[in-house]
Each structure stands twice: as structure tokens, then as C-alpha cells.
């Protein structure tokens, strides 16, 4: 089946089997390997991408369901020149070790902070509880997300004005 959607701002057209997951399509057909697969049954959250702004497990979504959607992966939340404020905060707080869960943490945290830049620690923990990390024990990840909130506030104000 052929399917068209937008990935990180660029339109793409791919031919997939009906059973191909969005995650496999992103990783193996579009070679966006920043999206990781840790369980393929919707528990670990490593494959989280943004679908029309919402954090979604790409292992539980079929590629054909993405028809017409705007998909953003960790690559789309990154810049060549420098780390983004959220990424800098992760680095500063040592919120990653092996890096495998990190793309899912970044996409999930980005979705949260974009919607709720004033969220508190309990809310961050609640939202991130759907993403498993085996290295950090989460303390530093929560600190990093809380510390990155400031970077999301002006953006929201600008959006509200618009």
C-alpha cells in the first residue's frame, strides 16, 4: 500500500505492507533510526514520536494509519549546530546513560512541555512513567525536564497571541 505523510517537515511517500508498523517504516524505510524499538508491545516508550503534536508509540501504530499526518521524530527535534534547550538540560543533568530510551524521553518531554510548560514534578513523573529507562533511575530525567520548562514558556505565549 502506498501512504503519504509528513516527517520532520518534509512530505514522504512510501510503499508498505499493511502490517508494517510506523516504527519499522520510520527506521528501516525512511532510515530515521533515532526512533528506537525496545519492546514492540507498547510498554517501554522508546519508539515515541509526535503524531500531529501528540506523543504516540510508533510500534503500536501502523504506517498506513499515518496517512496525511504530521510526524516528528527525535531527529526533527534536533539541530545540527547545537543541542536544543531540552537536550542541553538532559546533558547538564546527566539524564541519559546508554541513550537507548533517550529519543522517547525527548519526544515525550517535548510533547508535555509544549502543552504544559508549567507542569510540576509529579506531573512530569506521571507522564514519563510510560517510558522505561533502565540506567538513570529517572531522578535526573525529571530534573532535566523541570529545568527545561523555561525554554517552552515564551513559545506558548507567542502561540497564544497567534
Amino acid at each position: 500500500m502506498s501512504v503519504r505523510f509528513e516527517v520532520n517537515g518534509k512530505p514522504v511517500a512510501v510503499t508498505v505492507e499493511p502490517r508494517t508498523t510506523l516504527a519499522d517504516c520510520l527506521r528501516h524505510q525512511l532510515r530515521l533510526t533515532g526512533t528506537h524499538l525496545g519492546c514492540e508491545h507498547g510498554v517501554c516508550g522508546a519508539c515515541t514520536v509526535l503524531v500531529d503534536g501528540a506523543a504516540v508509540r510508533s510500534c503500536l501504530m501502523l504506517a498506513v494509519q499515518a496517512e496525511g499526518a504530521k510526524i516528528v521524530t527525535v531527529e526533527g527535534l534536533s539541530e545540527d549546530r547545537d543541542l536544543t534547550p531540552l537536550q542541553k538540560s538532559f546533558r547538564k543533568h546527566h539524564a541519559l546513560q546508554c541513550g537507548f530510551c533517550t529519543p522517547g524521553m525527548i519526544t515525550t518531554a517535548h510533547a508535555l512541555l509544549s502543552e504544559e510548560p508549567d507542569c510540576d514534578a509529579a506531573r512530569v513523573r506521571e507522564v514519563l512513567s510510560g517510558n522505561l529507562c533502565r540506567c538513570t533511575g529517572y531522578i535526573s530525567i525529571v530534573e532535566a525536564v523541570l529545568d527545561a520548562r523555561a525554554a517552552y514558556k515564551p513559545k506558548e505565549r507567542a502561540r497564544d497571541r497567534a
Binding site: R19, G38, E75, Q87, C135
Partner: protein
């Protein structure tokens, strides 16, 4: 001017993060090749049985299926997974064939390998392979194993692989005259490492050159290359094993598994590149399990609480085969039952019993997590019996600073003496009590507040590190004046590149950005490497880097001396960027050589380092629901010398949370037929972000190790070791009114509720 050694000890942000945070890491499943065949593995659904037949004809007929490999395709004798550590002859009969030959011995054992054009087609094919297995009675636990009624290996005649024995002093004499003796039994459940990245391999066979390249190595590349070379009849030099970014190790990842033979074999068999990535269900039933151990131990004390001796028996359920590091935890249970305490008389044997379950290997703090639970639980019971405060009981028995180095129990038959190297164990205990606010909080012990009982506990640990015999490093001064570092250590997500860049930059007296990179991912970088296990990388790899840096500086001086026309002894290297001779003549190191100057160094070591410390916790337990809430948790550890406090603290906290998972929730449960009941992450629970919000780590460097030039000790496992014992003691402390004494892990709500019910019934009688 830079000050020497300004990087070591600084909280440097990691160099690895730049790629990981942007999705630019390259893990093995991210690697692809033209003409790739995808492998999927048919695994036994029967725990114990005799293979009657495997019919692959329907699978082979599926469009897109290239071939199906079973034992008969491998050759005359299917290779066995070797023992990497403790390679005793006793273990040889229990080696695992890389693919099942005549019997299956656990659910998940490989039966056939399908190679197809896509992973989906390969998995389709698994469903149409017809396997006929005659079931045999399963051996589900160590009790059934010891009966020898159903044998995993009929020709051996028993299910006992070996018994280790730990001896020190004269335990029999100590117990004979002891005024106080107590005997207890404890149990730790089967659980395991669970790195977030599933395993994977990509093998390529170059028939024209007779060369094999394998992506997906980790932890012990050089040992695995030796093994693979032997099994495939190739010289080691014909094989390169590459390490990609590795999504966590914790002991399990990187050991030689059956797939480490099967995938390279398939590449040579088909002449095409072959890739395999396990799914999480496969991971749960094939990667080394760990921790399942029981003990029946006795302690002898004076009335004042001085421990006179420990003796008894422990039993480790090792699963279906003895492979790679499967004997380590049992060995450690024998040797580290005494932990950081002065126990003059010890006699403990540990039986390694085979069962029809996934084989075991190491998991962070192997044997130490188990023994800390056994010992610290026992200590709290004993302190109460002899009427001594439990902190004072520990103080009285900790090995003191003056007794270092302190000889611990010797293990037979793997004759191994060991000693605790250095430290002040009392100081970390005191610091831990201070950090948690023990004096104030212990007033809450057993108090019922808002329907929940509060409990406190403290426990001590030692963490072994720095396994020998050797590690290698090579440093190259590039023509552009930058330095490249190559090591035989392995990166498994622990931040090796950053720590090694700090060590190398300080040794070369340069800023870190002059290090072009730290490369650790290939069997071709250094002549001989040993990898990452037993918390050895910083001590062994780091010390090898110091040696390589020193040799490189000599080589640079010699080369500069030629140009400066003076003896090398008169050349000084200034800030790693220029060489200055007598009378101020100098030459820049940039361009000193057109092809670079290289030096290889090594560090050899027979001793171990012991990081040490204490854990303390404050919990609230709901006696009606059995739920435990962690209100506070502190770990204090002294690792001799910190390379990077930022990453060290990260290791400590991450390690604690894994330990809490093992203490309260993680469990690889099996039924009586040897079926794994926890085959998904919805069934096998690990900690999430909302479970344990309050954990603090204090990392210290007060007592350097005397056995290496850095003074460093292996760190990163200490956070896990005391977690089980401390949590169980906190629950006992909270629920003292209900006479709750946990004797097993995990401390699930159901288990705690049962203990409360039983305690209440006893109180009513």
C-alpha cells in the same frame, strides 16, 4: 597554564550525549547492508523434552524464505557455549549446544534459524515449522533438581553442577563454644538485567578473503572472537567483532550467547550478510537470568553482638546449562556472605543446581545483592535477639580501617584468595546515617501515621571491581596535533568515552578537546583486550591509558630530539602541543610526524578493588494493602578516586533503582512445567518514573585504592547491592507490631499482606 589533573574529578558533561540526544547514536539494529537476509529463531515451547523431528519443508517453500538451519546443518558436533569465567572441568558436561541437538532443556532454547528477505517473512516461517518433541518431566526448581529423578543430562547422572565452598578460620570450633546461635533461611527471586536495547547481530562473510565481520559485539569482544574463531575453524585475525552503541549491559549483554555463533555461521552458510534482532519476548526467555538463590545459614555471636562465625548452605538455581559467567554469582554468594564485616570463622557451601529454566549469568552486583539481603536481614534479627541497637551491631562488626588489607574467605575448588583493599567502612555508615537523618527519623520506627507504618533501615556493602589480568590501550598523536585513544575496554552505555578522555587528557596535559576521540569498539584497535565486566573499565582501561600516555610521551620526546638535535632526556613536552629542547629551541607536535606517533600501553593486575558504603531508607507501609512507599533513600559510597562525579552519581542512583526493582517488584516467574509466566514487559515489572522519586547519592573519594596508579576503584554496582536487604529490614521495622519478618524477595503487596495476616493470627493466638 593548565593545572595538571584538572579534568579527573570534574563533573564533565558527556561527549556521548551529543549523538544520543539527537537520535544519532548507532545501535546494531540501525546498521544495514545491501542484500541483507533477516534471521528469526524458532524457540522451544517445551521446557524439557527429546526432539523427535523438525520439519522445515513448508517454511522453506514460503516465498522470500532463503534457508532454514537446524543442528544437522551445523556439522558433526554442534559447538558449545564456553565458560568464560571459572572454566572448571566440572562444568564441561553441562555446556549449551548453540542449537538444540537431541534435547531441549528450557523454554526459549533455539531449535531452528530461518533466513528470509524480511524479518516479517522470517517470523511467518517460524509458524509453519513442525516440531515434534517428546516431553520429559520438567525440573522446575532446586528441590526437584536435587532429587535427580528427572535428569537434564542423563549421561552425567545428577543435576548438581558443582559446589563451591568458602572457608575462613575454624567455623566448627566457633559454633561449638558460641553463647548465641541463630539459624535462618532466606530466598531471592529470579530476576535479571533487562537492558533497554534488545540484542542484535549483523554478520558478513567475505568468501574471497575468508574474513568475517560481526556488528553487535559488546562487553567482551576479544573473548568472543577467540570463541567464534575456534568454533568456526578460522584464525582470530580473520574475524573482526565491532561494538556499536550499546543500549545497556548490566552484566547480561555481550556475553557469548548461542546466537553469537548462529548468526555468523548463517552468514558463511548463505554467503550473504545476515542480521538478527531479538524481540522483547525472546530477550525475556533467552538472555541470562540471575539472582535465584536460597540459603540456610547459621550465625554465632558473643552476647555483646560480636559475630564469631557464619556457616551453612546456599543453593543457586542456575537454569538449564552452565555458560560463560554462570558460576559467578554462586561463587560470590560463597565469598561475600561476610560482606564488609569482620567474620573470623566461615564455612559456607553453595550448590549450583540445574533446572529447566533459562541459564543464569551475572547481573550487576552478582552474588552481592543476594548476600546483602541474607546477611543484613539476619543481622537485624540477631541485633534484636541480643538486645543491641542495629546500628551499633554493625559498627561493632565492620572491618576497621586499621585492619586493611583484610583477607576474606577463600573459595574452593576455584582456589581464590582475596582481600579488601582499603577504606573506612565506619565513616560511610556514619555519613549515611547523618544524610538520612537517622537520629530524628528513627523515632518514627513502627509508628502508625495516617494508616501507614513507618520503618527505617540501614545496611552496608562492598563492591568488587578491577578484575585482571590485563587491559590494553593505544594512543596516537595524529599529524594534526590531536590525540586518538584506543582501548580494549568496552562501552555499554556507562560513559566510557568521557571518563577515558578525562584520564587521557590529564595524562597528556592537554584540554579534552584535543582528544580526537576514544575508540573502544573493535577487536582491531589494540593487540589484546578484556572488556567491561566486574566494574573494571576505569581501573584497568584507565590505568592502561596512563601507561600508553607515558610511553607516547617518551616516543614523542625521542622523535622531537631528532629534530632538535639533542638527547631525548633533555626534551620537555609543554602542554601536549610542543616539544622544547635545551636553550629554548622548540618544535610543534602538529606535523611532528606525517603518519602519526603511536604507543601501546597495558595494565596488569591480580588484585581487586573494593568500593564500599552504606544505604539507608525510610518507608511507609500500608498494613492493609501491603504497599510500600519509599519516602527517602540514601546511598553513600567511597570509590577511592572519582573520575567524573556527575556520571558516578548517575551510576549510583541508577543502580539503586534497579536494586529497588529487584527488592519490590521484578520477578521472572515460572510454573511447574517450566513455562515462563512473565514473557512481556506488561508482566515483568521494572521501576518507572513514578515509583521511587526520593533517592539521593553521596559519592566520596576518601580512601584511594593502593593497587592502581589512579587510586580508583570499580564503581557503579554499589547502589544495587544493599537495596534488597535494606528494603526488607525497613518493612520489618515498620511492621514490627505485626511481627513481620520478610524472608524472601520481592516485597510485593501480596507477600507483605500475607505476612501481616500471619503475624496478626499469631498475635491473636
Amino acid at each position: 597554564m593548565r593545572t595538571v589533573n584538572s579534568l579527573i574529578g570534574s563533573p564533565i558533561e558527556r561527549v556521548e550525549d551529543l549523538r544520543f540526544l539527537r537520535g544519532r547514536g548507532q545501535y546494531v539494529d540501525d546498521v544495514t547492508r545491501e542484500g541483507l537476509l533477516h534471521a528469526a529463531i524458532l524457540r522451544s515451547s517445551v521446557a524439557h523434552g527429546r526432539i523427535r523431528s523438525i520439519d522445515t519443508s513448508v517454511a522453506l517453500a514460503l516465498p522470500g524464505v532463503h534457508s532454514v538451519i537446524t543442528a544437522k546443518d551445523i556439522g558433526n558436533r554442534v559447538p558449545r557455549v564456553p565458560m568464560r569465567l571459572q572454566p572448571l572441568p566440572d562444568f564441561e558436561p553441562f555446556g549449551q549446544p548453540v542449537i538444540a541437538e537431541t534435547k531441549v532443556r528450557y523454554v526459549g532454547e533455539a531449535l531452528a534459524l530461518v533466513l528470509a528477505d524480511s524479518p516479517a517473512i522470517a517470523e511467518d516461517a517460524l509458524g509453519v515449522i513442525e516440531v515434534d518433541i517428546e516431553p520429559l518431566p520438567a525440573v522446575p526448581d532446586r528441590h526437584a533438581s536435587a532429587k535427580n529423578e528427572s535428569l537434564l543430562f542423563e549421561d552425567v547422572g545428577r543435576n548438581l553442577a558443582i559446589k563451591f565452598r568458602a572457608l575462613r578460620g575454624d567455623a566448627a570450633a566457633a559454633f561449638q563454644d558460641a553463647p548465641y546461635v541463630r539459624r535462618e533461611s532466606f530466598r531471592v527471586q529470579r530476576h535479571f538485567a533487562l537492558p533497554m536495547e534488545p540484542r542484535g547481530l549483523l554478520a558478513e562473510w567475505d568468501a574471497a578473503r575468508g574474513r568475517l565481520t560481526v556488528n553487535g559485539g559488546a562487553k567482551v569482544l576479544f573473548f568472543n572472537r577467540r570463541t567464534l574463531a575456534r568454533q568456526m575453524g578460522l584464525p582470530e585475525s580473520a574475524i573482526e567483532i565491532l561494538e556499536n552503541d550499546v543500549g545497556g549491559g548490566f552484566g547480561a549483554r555481550g556475553e557469548f550467547y548461542p546466537e553469537d555463533f548462529l548468526i555468523p555461521f548463517a552468514a558463511r552458510f548463505t554467503g550473504r550478510p545476515v542480521k538478527w534482532t531479538e524481540d522483547r519476548r525472546e530477550h525475556l526467555m533467552t538472555v541470562n537470568h540471575a539472582r535465584e538463590a536460597e540459603c540456610d545459614i547459621e550465625i554465632a555471636c558473643r552476647r555483646d553482638g560480636t559475630v564469631l562465625g557464619l556457616r551453612g548452605h546456599a543453593y543457586v538455581d542456575v537454569g538449564a546449562y552452565m555458560r560463560t559467567n554462570g558460576a559467578v554469582s554462586a561463587r560470590n554468594i560463597a565469598q561475600f556472605m561476610s560482606g564488609p564485616y569482620r567474620i573470623p570463622n566461615i564455612d559456607i557451601d553453595v550448590a549450583l543446581l540445574l533446572t529447566n529454566k533459562t541459564p543464569v549469568g551475572t547481573y550487576r552486583g552478582p552474588g552481592r545483592f543476594e548476600t546483602d539481603f541474607f546477611r543484613e536481614r539476619l543481622f537485624d534479627m540477631v541485633a534484636q535477639d541480643v538486645g543491641l541497637d542495629r546500628v551499633e551491631f554493625r559498627r561493632r562488626n565492620l572491618v576497621s580501617h586499621r585492619e586493611m588489607p583484610y583477607a576474606i574467605a577463600t573459595i574452593t575448588p576455584y582456589e581464590s584468595k582475596d582481600e579488601l583493599d582499603s577504606g573506612d567502612y565506619h565513616s560511610t555508615l556514619d555519613r549515611c546515617l547523618e544524610e538520612i537523618g537517622w537520629a530524628e527519623k528513627s523515632k518514627l520506627a513502627g509508628k502508625l501515621i495516617d494508616g501507614r507504618c513507618h520503618g527505617l533501615a540501614v545496611g552496608c556493602f562492598i563492591e568488587g571491581g578491577a578484575a585482571g589480568p590485563k587491559e590494553s590501550a593505544r594512543i596516537v598523536l595524529e599529524p594534526d596535533g590531536r590525540y586518538t585513544v584506543y582501548v580494549g575496554s568496552s562501552g555499554i552505555g556507562q560513559g566510557l568515552e568521557t571518563a577515558f578522555a578525562q584520564i587521557a587528557a590529564d595524562a597528556l596535559e592537554i584540554p579534552m578537546d584535543r582528544i580526537r576521540g576514544v575508540f573502544h569498539g573493535s577487536t582491531s584497535y589494540v593487540s589484546d583486550g578484556y572488556g567491561a565486566y566486574h566494574s573494571r573499565s576505569v581501573v584497568m582501561g584507565g590505568s592502561a591509558i596512563l601507561d600508553a600516555a607515558s610511553k607516547l610521551r617518551e616516543a614523542i620526546r625521542a622523535r622531537a630530539a631528532d629534530q632538535l638535535g639533542c638527547p631525548a632526556s633533555e626534551v620537555q613536552i609543554v602542554e601536549g602541543s610542543k616539544a622544547v629542547g635545551p636553550r629554548g629551541a622548540s618544535v610543534s607536535l602538529t606535523g611532528l610526524s606525517t603518519d602519526g606517533i603511536a604507543a601501546e600501553g597495558a595494565f596488569l593486575n591480580k588484585k581487586h578493588t573494593y568500593t564500599y558504603g552504606a544505604h539507608a531508607t525510610h518507608v511507609a507501609v500500608d498494613p492493609k494493602l501491603g504497599h510500600v512507599e519509599l519516602l527517602d533513600y540514601v546511598v553513600v559510597e567511597d570509590c577511592g578516586r572519582m573520575i567524573n562525579p556527575l556520571t558516578l552519581r548517575g551510576q549510583a542512583i541508577g543502580s539503586v533503582v534497579q536494586g529497588l526493582g529487584g527488592a519490590v517488584m521484578e520477578h521472572l516467574a515460572y510454573d511447574e512445567q517450566g513455562q515462563l509466566l512473565t514473557g512481556s514487559l506488561a508482566d515483568y515489572l521494572i521501576p518507572t518514573a513514578s515509583d521511587f522519586p526520593n533517592i539521593r547519592a553521596v559519592v566520596l573519594e576518601n580512601h584511594p585504592s593502593p593497587i592502581n596508579p589512579l587510586g580508583a576503584k570499580g564503581a557503579g554496582e554499589g547502589g544495587i547491592i544493599a537495596a534488597g536487604g535494606v528494603m526488607a529490614n525497613a518493612v520489618a521495622n515498620a511492621l514490627g507490631a505485626f511481627r513481620v519478618e520478610p524472608r524472601q524477595l520481592p516485597l510485593t503487596p501480596a507477600y507483605i499482606w500475607e505476612l501481616v495476616q500471619a503475624g496478626s493470627r499469631r498475635a491473636a493466638e
